[in-house]
Symmetry: C2
Subunit: 211 residues, 2 copies
């Protein structure tokens, strides 16, 4: 009754979820609320489709209850940062600050000034896009679904050719500076891939991509 | 075979869609591609859920083939602009420039400089959020699903109390200046509501909202 309720505690860095296994939401659909090693998510009991995720269990490592702050981690590619986004679930669904300039600068991101917001919706699982390496920086995340992302450093220097891969769901984002190639494949149907960039396309510029 | 293909022609301002009624996509699911007065959309044949929309037929009024440019229209509330976003469909899903600073300024929007990007995911149909009237301007759209939006002018002056309502799907956006209250209810399950704002929340400021 009353929808899906999420909770969290710092019991050894694992997610704690005081939640019924089967939950009737207001639209009459039955969701199957799961807790497993990959985090918490709500599944449509009829189709098996993942409807939303709370956050991966790793996101809670060491954080006290009630303080699911945004955090970032460096990667093997200089300037590429993986970001854990708090996702606040309730009976309606969830809410997240997908990008917040002050907080992101506080996490070590450059003072990113977006001029464009793009959304790519991918129906089938396995949809592949990229490699793209346009001359702008990107802040990438998903609204719905999940992707396997792959990035490669194409900048001249010691780290040229370095490859990074990661899964992104709604609780993850990645900052990708220009010169780093970006590609992804969807791991769930109906994945909405959302990104901000800080320069516009120009007919005079040269662009590098494989589609 | 080969997925969903969208096309468009300026035959009296209507959408023209050379598309099979039933299409097998790469993930093996069967989509039912519809064309009706409300535009083109792909429906999951098993669940009846709308998977994606191309664009409302009104969006094509008078535009030549191959030139589905972004456009805007004023509303009854001064400063509130409704925006038609071109949505480019192919076998993978679709792509849109959700916000593009230069083009939006060209359409008469203020030179909006976002500092934050929020996403609210709404599971059940009928999920209601608002009224909110925080002290920042907003650029609102959806990635997936569809909403009924309602806006009310709360600024002192001749237009105080003016109400505007509109449906937003992935081919629509709205610009809402500060002082205008914002609320919505979802018309489809799994609606991802995406917005950009140009100021951060502050503990010192006063906020007006009904949840």
């Amino acid at each position: 009754q009353g929808g899906v309720h999420f909770g969290m505690a710092a019991d050894g860095g694992r997610v704690y979820v005081p939640i019924n296994d089967m939950v009737n939401t207001r639209d009459g659909r039955v969701y199957d609320a799961k807790k497993n090693g990959a985090g918490v998510h709500a599944v449509d009991a009829a189709s098996g489709k993942v409807l939303w995720r709370h956050m991966a269990s790793d996101d809670c490592g060491g954080r006290p209850f009630g303080d699911p702050g945004v955090s970032s981690a460096p990667t093997a590619i200089p300037g590429v940062l993986l970001i854990d986004l708090p996702v606040h679930g309730d009976s309606r669904g969830w809410f997240k600050e997908n990008w917040q300039r002050e907080k992101m600068v506080g996490l070590g991101l450059p003072d990113f000034r977006p001029v464009q917001n793009n959304i790519a919706f991918n129906g089938p699982v396995g949809t592949t896009r990229g490699i793209h390496a346009e001359p702008w920086d990107k802040f990438v995340s998903v609204a719905t679904g999940r992707i396997f992302g792959a990035w490669v450093d194409l900048r001249e220097g010691d780290t040229y050719g370095t490859v990074l891969t990661a899964e992104l769901d709604s609780a993850k984002a990645i900052y990708i500076p220009r010169g780093v190639g970006n590609a992804y494949q969807t791991l769930e149907p109906d994945t909405s891939y959302v990104y901000l960039v800080n320069d516009h396309w120009s007919p005079e510029a040269e662009y590098t991509f494989l589609n």
